[in-house]
């Protein structure tokens, strides 16, 4: 088991290196950030001065080296716009994104997974059709539309909830629903198909032939097996929801990382974009590692043959 974990960590480090190099290049290929840091009619002298201040006049390999040197020490550069270390900005916004991401993940799991299980167990019944319908809606309704409709109904008309921003639990409800809705639908579909596949297997047949109670057959024998792809998806989804929930964050003026990244991209705030993407990369790698470990805990085939 430790060998398994160690190997996973090594792979992760390699991945992060590749990620940092890629994002470094890509961000620079989008154009000159200095133009957006100064006014539209700025003189060349103004621009050069700004460029020098930010070390953008150095060659790319030199910039990359400097960046990596700092990155290893935990310094991901300083944002052009906020003049704060990117890591500080990221960690400041992280709790907000975590709250939203976890709330949305919870919604997607609590709604999607049970619905998917019921749907699979009662396949082709009206339960199933209703669930498939909800799944389709969830995947096709755009988040921004849903978000605006929620604000209109629950905030403006009914006056139950505040429109936007962060605060207490009432501020989280609508963004979490707007964000989690889509993922609930995808969880539902995946759980359903995974369960159907498992329910058709021989060992489930045998479990039934053993006369085991329905709950045990479905809840334990079937579900645990069906869980594996669902877990992978949940892990990926969670990272996306935490780092890239741009649309929901913009609509609800939620102070999260998605918005930070989006605004950074528009303003060509290189250090910010680089830094946030790297941090997101860390998070993906970390969560994948956790998911892998959880797999190994669930599935003895993975645990014992490595």
């Amino acid at each position: 088991m430790t060998q398994f974990i160690v190997r996973r960590i090594l792979y992760s480090i390699v991945t992060l290196f590749i990620l940092s190099g890629t994002i470094f290049l890509v961000v620079r290929m989008t154009g000159d950030p200095v133009l957006l840091l100064a006014e539209a009619g700025a003189s060349t002298e103004d621009l050069d001065r700004v460029r020098q201040q930010w070390g953008l006049d150095r060659s790319w390999p030199v910039q990359y080296l400097a960046f990596m040197e700092n990155a290893v020490r935990g310094e991901l550069g300083k944002s052009f716009n906020y003049r704060m270390p990117v890591s500080e900005l990221y960690f400041e916004r992280l709790p907000n994104s975590l709250i939203l991401g976890l709330a949305a993940t919870a919604i997607s799991l609590l709604v999607g997974v049970p619905a998917g299980i019921v749907s699979a167990v009662k396949v082709n019944s009206w339960w199933d059709n209703a669930a498939k319908g909800i799944g389709l809606l969830g995947l096709s309704i755009p988040g921004f539309w849903l978000g605006l409709v929620l604000i209109l109904v629950f905030s403006v008309w009914l006056r139950w909830l505040p429109t936007s921003g962060a605060g207490d639990w009432r501020h989280v409800v609508m963004p979490a629903v707007a964000l989690g809705w889509y993922f609930a639908a995808s969880m539902l579909r995946l759980t359903r198909s995974s369960m159907l596949e498992v329910l058709g297997s021989e060992y489930i047949k045998l479990a039934k032939l053993k006369g085991l109670p329905e709950v045990v057959v479905i809840g334990m024998h079937a579900f645990k097996n069906a869980l594996i792809p669902v877990l992978t998806l949940a892990g990926v989804n969670m990272v996306v929801m935490i780092n890239a929930a741009v649309i929901v964050e913009v609509i609800f003026a939620w102070p999260g990382i998605g918005r930070l990244l989006y605004e950074g991209i528009f303003q060509r705030d290189f250090p910010l974009v680089q830094g946030v993407v790297i941090m997101a990369g860390f998070m993906i790698v970390g969560i994948n590692l956790v998911v892998d470990v959880v797999y190994a805990l669930i599935d003895p085939r993975i645990r014992l043959t490595r």
């Binding site: 396949v123 297997s201 021989e202 060992y203 047949k205 045998l206 479990a207 039934k208 032939l209 053993k210 006369g211 085991l212 109670p213 329905e214 045990v216 024998h221 645990k224 097996n225 669930i298 599935d299 003895p300 085939r301 014992l304 043959t305």
Partner: protein, 304 residues
């Protein structure tokens, strides 16, 4: 399926023979009330130890499954849940049906594993299915079947997926267990050699119905139904150089059976009547029964 009717006593082994798609597995599943979606029992009865199982609710049937009637499935590689230990899977019937717990449960599992001749059962209990060979897994499935202390075990082609060398061992094991516990055994197979070795009685299925059944000796010595005859004729004989006899044609789709006798399109002895009327069961003198007009050309047609 229609016209499937047989009976079995304790300690007896009934072989259920037929090609794929003849309805063998469906028959077995319907005994325990586990039919696939879209299938229903329309008529008839399944009398087990004096009770009609078709009249029972699913809840009651669940108490019977695994406890009084057990099933051994065909594919040992797929029958066991990869995520649970051997102990857990073998213990489940005793845990749920007989409420065994703790030390008693562990003892029970150990003895079950010993009964199916698994070496070092205390260690093996903690293993997972993927750590065992096919032959061993099938024994585990056997142990699971015995766990509830059943009076009837239905084995659906248990050796088909095993190596030839292991097959014989497994069959011996089953025979020993039967001798020790006195369970009745329904052995589903398409292999007549196994029938000859294991079974007391045999029922031959074709096209969703039993075309012939009776004591093994009677059927093998003197098959009455052309299908049975063809099956027996197709067994390769050691030392013979004759080309293997294969029955021409394909078995019918149970959803669209031919009119009259299901076998008539392939039967070398088909008569006119065979295409029109379904044959009735006719008792032959030696204790076997066959569903064929050849035995009673003038008899009235059966219903259905």
């Amino acid at each position: 399926m229609d016209g499937v009717s047989f009976s079995l006593n304790a300690g007896e082994t009934l072989g259920l023979v037929g090609e794929s798609g003849s309805g063998k597995t469906t028959t077995c599943l319907s005994i325990v009330g586990l039919l696939p979606r879209g299938a229903r029992i329309v008529g008839g009865s399944v009398v087990f130890e004096g009770e009609d199982l078709t009249r029972k609710s699913q809840r009651e049937l669940r108490r019977i499954r695994g406890r009084r009637i057990a099933v051994i499935l065909q594919d040992p590689m797929a029958s066991l849940n990869p995520l649970f230990t051997i102990f857990r899977q073998v213990a489940e019937p005793a845990f749920f049906h007989q409420q065994m717990r703790g030390k008693t449960l562990r003892q029970r599992v150990k003895s079950l594993l010993a009964a199916v001749r698994i070496p070092s059962p205390e260690w093996r209990m903690r293993d997972y299915p993927h750590q065992m060979s096919g032959g061993m897994r099938q024994r585990i499935v056997g142990a699971i079947a015995l766990a509830g202390g059943p009076s009837l075990v239905i084995a659906d082609e248990p050796t088909t997926n095993l190596d030839v060398t292991i097959q014989a061992q497994y069959l011996d094991l089953l025979k020993d267990i039967q001798r020790e516990t006195g369970v009745a055994l329904i052995f589903v197979t398409h292999n007549l050699g196994i029938v000859a070795k294991m079974c007391d009685r045999v029922a031959v299925m074709y096209g969703g119905t039993i075309v012939e059944q009776g004591p093994v000796r009677a059927i093998f010595d003197d098959p009455k139904h052309p299908y049975t005859q063809a099956l027996l004729g197709s067994i390769p004989k050691l030392g013979s150089r004759d080309p293997l006899y294969a029955i021409p044609g394909q078995p019918p789709n149970l959803a669209s059976l031919p009119t009259g006798c299901a076998f008539h399109p392939r039967c070398p002895q088909a008569m006119e009547r065979c295409a029109i009327d379904e044959p009735t069961n006719v008792h032959a003198g030696d204790g076997s029964v066959a569903r064929c007009w050849l035995l009673a050309p003038a008899a009235a047609p059966s219903h259905g």
